[in-house]
Symmetry: C2
Subunit: 635 residues, 2 copies
Amino acid sequence: MALSTARKLQVLSPVPADIDIANSVEPFPISVIASEIGLDPAHYELYGKAKAKVLLSAYDKLKASPNGFYVVVGGITPTPLGEGKSTTTVGLCQALGAHLGKKVVTCVRQPSQGPTFGIKGGAAGGGYSQVIPMDEFNLHMTGDIHAITAANNLLAAAIDARIFHESTQSDRALFNRLCPADKEGKRVFAPIMLKRLKKLGIEKTDPGELTPAEVKRFARLDIDPAQITWKRVMDVNDRFLRKITVGQGPEEKGMVRETGFDISVASEIMAVLALTTSLADMRDRLGRMVVGTSRGGDPVTADDLGLGGALTVLMKDAINPTLMQTLEGTPVLVHAGPFANIAHGNSSVIADQIALKLVGEHGFVVTEAGFGADIGTEKFMNIKCRYSGLTPQCAVIVATVRALKMHGGGPEVVAGKALDHTYKSEQVDLVKAGCSNLARHIQNTKSYGVNVVVAINAFATDTEAEFSVIKEAAIVAGAFDAIVCTHHARGGAGAVDLGVAVQRACEQHRTALNFLYPLDLSIKGKIEMIAKSYGADGVEYSAEAELQIETYTRQGFSGLPICMAKTQYSFSHSASLKGAPSGFTIPIKEVRASIGAGFIYPLIGTMSTMPGLPTRPCFYDIDLDLETGRVLGLS
Amino acid sequence: MALSTARKLQVLSPVPADIDIANSVEPFPISVIASEIGLDPAHYELYGKAKAKVLLSAYDKLKASPNGFYVVVGGITPTPLGEGKSTTTVGLCQALGAHLGKKVVTCVRQPSQGPTFGIKGGAAGGGYSQVIPMDEFNLHMTGDIHAITAANNLLAAAIDARIFHESTQSDRALFNRLCPADKEGKRVFAPIMLKRLKKLGIEKTDPGELTPAEVKRFARLDIDPAQITWKRVMDVNDRFLRKITVGQGPEEKGMVRETGFDISVASEIMAVLALTTSLADMRDRLGRMVVGTSRGGDPVTADDLGLGGALTVLMKDAINPTLMQTLEGTPVLVHAGPFANIAHGNSSVIADQIALKLVGEHGFVVTEAGFGADIGTEKFMNIKCRYSGLTPQCAVIVATVRALKMHGGGPEVVAGKALDHTYKSEQVDLVKAGCSNLARHIQNTKSYGVNVVVAINAFATDTEAEFSVIKEAAIVAGAFDAIVCTHHARGGAGAVDLGVAVQRACEQHRTALNFLYPLDLSIKGKIEMIAKSYGADGVEYSAEAELQIETYTRQGFSGLPICMAKTQYSFSHSASLKGAPSGFTIPIKEVRASIGAGFIYPLIGTMSTMPGLPTRPCFYDIDLDLETGRVLGLS
């Protein structure tokens, strides 16, 4: 049953730098990986030697066959250093595929390119549990984020251009330009215009038949510049674009406007890509994205601007997930990477759908949910699984001794600063106290009806006594099992026990998926259900938030799921409240919506959607070996 | 000798829409095209079914073998409708490859994606002479322009971030952050920092040994915000980004600055890609790109900012040309697409180099030079061939009856407006008068030492009498031959005579390549030589231009070739001066430089580097057929 592509790792100690490990392994030709997982060459397209785009026809062909087991990896509330969720996701799959002879696909997010050159470095896992080639994973990949940037910004350009052209033309001139006469002198509506007419309740298909009032309603979107919510994006950490003024050129006739850029992965189009289930569904979602509000108070969509089709064309290849491989030769699908606060932070529905068919009955799909489980797993269940209709059997929660010490009262952990001694010595009591955090994540996650396996991501300085405390607390809180793992240092071999536990958890799963809230609850009702799961006593709304909730409800969007934009560093809204806090009130400052993606997102605090570059960015170390063509210095 | 991939076209009359013709043909798998041209699978990477990236190793392998014939396609001074240069380039190759049994590669530019959604539509040729798949050619292709956008904007972000960090830190703090202590407490310079030290004349490699004055010089780039020349780019027609103010967020502490976006193909990185000859050369060029000037008057480069290596990494796949095919199955290399005014408007040196080896002795490489021959062919010779060391044997000049009528005094031709009757009826005298324009292009082009073949791109309304006049005038002006072509309506079959003439012109070529000016002439001297070739009496410099010429000369850049940024609608600076004007003075408003790409570019008039969207952009018609996955409405 073992994979013929399973690769025996030569493990070194101490563990070398990630890029050195990644570069030490020659990837299998991706066609070999594809064939191993049963993909017919008709259902994928090569992108270089180590990447392929899996076509949607792969799913269509297998539609009737059974799904494999569906495992989601979340984490406890992390330190700013991260607790190894991606690494555990990859390590678990290497164990299942290369050591336990299972069919397995890892589904992960495509990382944003911006931070790769800033502070953070890449996001392909770490140590001996990585996706390779690491440079291709982190840079460009197969162009999906570039496609999102292009589509997002075409829509942004269309908004300002439309306002400009509307401001300088009469209703009739505008209408005549929108519906120009063809060679026979006859005006026709483009098919996309019929959508707008229908929305306006105008049941005519001949432009000549519109009354002047209808001409005005059709041709004039009358977007209120102060109520444009659509921003431009760039996949670069460019802090000086956070807030800008556009339109200062003389040809733009003084139509200046304040706006800003987000990083590309914060685009709603990324969330659409992550949540869509088919080409037709993506066309619909892209078309109904709301970019702003008219002066009359109506939401203006991409289709109103005539752009839903063009955006779909720009995204037609991005909808196909990218096949890559782990260090041990197991298959990986990389697809979508929405923000985990203002969006839902999970990789794509489509990749999971395809993967579940590819692995088939008794196989495993392991997918990661961004941020701590309070956010990532919650959104996985209530947003992603709601749209996909898929049911997970098992949820892994990644915990570290380090983070639990912090939750138990250990000193603050700050990225870039040396770790306090506490974190390098045995501190059983701190760990024990910190397990309150783990326990609440277990209880919350279990309530969805999945079996919860705790993966203790072991560090060299951790002790057996500390592990025992965690295992005991996990079982008491209702975990199916709790396993110490060493996949960072040892690859899949270090996660074999975890793999066995996950297999048992899946096989013994019997419960239906329970959502945390029904969709037909009011927006506030849903927000309050989620806040309760954080341990909050209640929710407080700003006047602005109240107004926005009212508006979205009036516009008919109250039936959407909720995507909380909250810090991942606490169950609460306050990053300094560690452990399992209670008795706090969640303050909702603002409520926004991604109508095309399909969720309402309340903002709890200020979310940064455009990172910056430090004084010495990572890029100083990055270069190309001109002899070998290898990328140097990527971390 | 005929290509096994040669495809017999089923030609319809009247000629259907470009996208319908393109969609009516199933492309050969690109591996078939690759094998036909003798490319070993080790030397290319597939990007989907119909595109492949040709690796530089393909050239390395064939380095010692002889080049084929090298043909450049230019045009007379065009009308705003374009005279079919791309179409003729493709048609000629279809004739040579699919009808005359020659080995041939077409080298063309990758079009900007922005205009595809604006007014212009695609750029893959037209009628029965096109590059396919047309949608993949026009949209994303293999991501090269996206890579340029990413690299350009990372550099832009780094400039503002650096100014910001320098403004808030002491010399020592800045230095310590740039050279942080490693685990052993030792500070080290990153390799790229050694380049800057060397440039500064500091011969030390241990950070600890720098004097406080050296620390300051090294760590403080001291970029003058008012003298930043590097702009951000986007491959979207977004007129509201032409002039913007950045840095208005509260975290940027009031460091606002006016700047703007260009369209991505206007980036200097695009010009670098087009002119580079190898990976090492690209690394050098990217590193020495000048982004602005320090307060002390020194040019600041990408390498000074620590970015030359990272930019090379972002561009490492873009350096490989993309293999595609024509409608008749002949191979095409698509690579780079620099602006034809502020840059040199030619496809890449690397694609031509590889193609010349692939076709080998007696084979043909046909490459297009953007704009009229006064600009495109001039830059092809004096910039592109100077850097590549390649020698063309034949230059094709594309002429139309329509454009010659305009030059002879016909009414103005305006895009989007109906053509005057003059252009649809026989007007021998107008054509004859207009041939002065053709004659000057022939004489100028011939002076480089190539044989000139005139391709008369025939329209249905043209007459034999008109053709005769053109042929005669061409021969009188020194053309090797002049041929009427119907490749738009008939594909390669319509350009067989042209193919035969081009073959003869190449085989009978005996002259060395004569550049218009030597590089060691002063900047002004070179500008004046080019102006003379336009028919100008002299050149007039603004005070600003004088100062800039002085600065570039002082900085040691006066040995670079000149890239005139001039309208293509007249030999002169004034678009309304048709025919072969003389007695005018060329006004140089401003002089800029692309130091990494390797040219100085004087601006004659205002060049728009960011197009806008019209009231009804093309995107209204673009959609995806959700059943077939085909792109609809692309023009």
